[in-house]
Symmetry: C2
DNA sequence: ACGATATTGTAACAGAGTGTAACTGCCCTT
DNA sequence: AAGGGCAGTTACACTCTGTTACAATATCGT
């Protein structure tokens, strides 16, 4: 997930990590910047603020959220180390970002960031790639929100949060955020989150609820609950298909 | 809306529309391409197909959709003249695109498109701008889907579809798509769509339901129903705000 | 023009999810 | 150790939406 905010995935794949070259990749832009620390709950910037900086998450987790007029809150994504904040934005930030756990960030001036990117085509590629990932994540979230039951939503959520973790049959998934955060991300209420977690625990898919983590007991069952989406992760597609059209009606 | 698919907005704003310069803007790449026609219901490409071309909508309306394993269908956006299809994609298209009404498209090979964009920085700017719009739209859709009632969703939908139209107090909004399309876009069922439209008609906000259009009688009321989002379209933001952080806990 | 089919509208019912509120457990303060 | 505050859970009544079924209407093909 890390919806709106450019997941890293590949990032620096190890190896040539020295800063020999001036700008090896997007992350290296941030490498020499000082670390800024944010306490849990503390805001980094607000929706509507002038977008002066791009941030890279060095450590911890953050939430990106939007507020509706009547106070309803929507979390559009959670951010983790390696993610960038603020790339996809125009003159103003689209959402508020707050620290969930203790967070370390590095910031880079937006103008200079754009200059650097414009100057180096390989950075451009990377940026486009990140934007595409971000788009995909945003779309996936839309799909998740539109046509899925509480159980499916949570199953998906646990799997998304499991990213990084080893893919064993059982796993402990870290949940630094509160139930309210989860609810606002999945478009439900904290009560439904609680009830559903309890239900999953009763059916033995996960261990009895802990405060800040979930222990998955039956990974496969969880996967099947989460499924429905991902329909089938796209094999070449066997059938030939009409591609061009004849005008009619 | 036009969710995932890069709304145009500015596009060619009239004036210097001749193709004097080699590549004035993104649209001009498509200008000399032959028009392809698609009949209503006809697919342009499928989710998972290799992304070989970028398309520009010349006329008509299309829907971009994704299918879930169990047959559930999610429409991630509707496309209108000036919109581009396929820009945000990786090697494969993320969604299926089908014609809603009779459609005219122009296509451009993706490789060449990317070359052109990489070569001209002003095209890059435009492409980034479109991607940002697309992101915003995707996020707005997520917000719409997550925390809104049937009535709010439809009110929003009508307003989105009214784009272009003159902003008078009453207006006829074209709805080329079926109720099922609307339902799958808003994450509800056709019955709920029907009921809600009837309700809006009974309360005098819109005229009695017509098949392929809606006549808005009380634009302001519709706006207030749709509101809640858009919280306040961002005035400079009055209060000073802590921006940096002290580590703690 | 006519009938078949698809789309849309209406109604009754069931179920999932919500909201309120009470209750538990935990952590922190005093 | 007692008290307050907060996050989380649970229970219950209620609401909204989905489901199912059927009627009405439009669309299409012959």
């Amino acid at each position: 997930m890390s919806a709106q905010v450019v997941p890293m995935q590949e990032g620096r794949t190890g190896a040539m990590c020295s800063q020999a070259l001036p700008v090896a990749d997007l992350s290296s832009l941030f490498a020499r910047r000082p670390v800024e620390r944010f306490a849990p709950g503390q805001p980094v910037f607000w929706e509507g603020d002038e977008a002066t900086h791009i941030f890279e998450v060095a450590d911890g987790m953050l939430r990106a959220l939007r507020l509706l007029g009547d106070g309803r809150r929507i979390i559009v994504g959670f951010l983790r180390p390696g993610d960038l904040l603020g790339v996809s934005l125009k003159e103003r930030y689209l959402y508020t970002v707050e620290a969930v756990s203790a967070v370390e960030l590095r910031r880079f001036p937006r103008r200079r960031f754009e200059d650097e990117v414009a100057r180096h085509s390989h950075l451009q590629q990377q940026l486009f790639s990140r934007l595409r990932d971000e788009m995909t994540a945003a779309q996936d979230q839309a799909v998740l929100l539109s046509r899925r039951s509480a159980e499916e939503k949570l199953a998906n959520f646990f799997l998304m949060m499991r990213r990084n973790e080893n893919c064993t049959r059982t796993a402990v998934v870290d949940l630094p955020m509160t139930r309210l955060d989860i609810a606002d991300y999945l478009g439900m209420t904290i009560e439904t989150v609680s009830r559903t977690i309890t239900k999953l625990a009763n059916s033995g898919v996960i261990a009895p609820p802990e405060r800040r983590s979930v222990t998955v007991l039956k990974m496969e069952t969880l996967r099947s609950l989460a499924d429905g989406d991902e329909s089938e992760h796209w094999m070449p597609s066997p059938m030939p298909r009409a591609q061009y059209a004849f005008a009619s009606a």
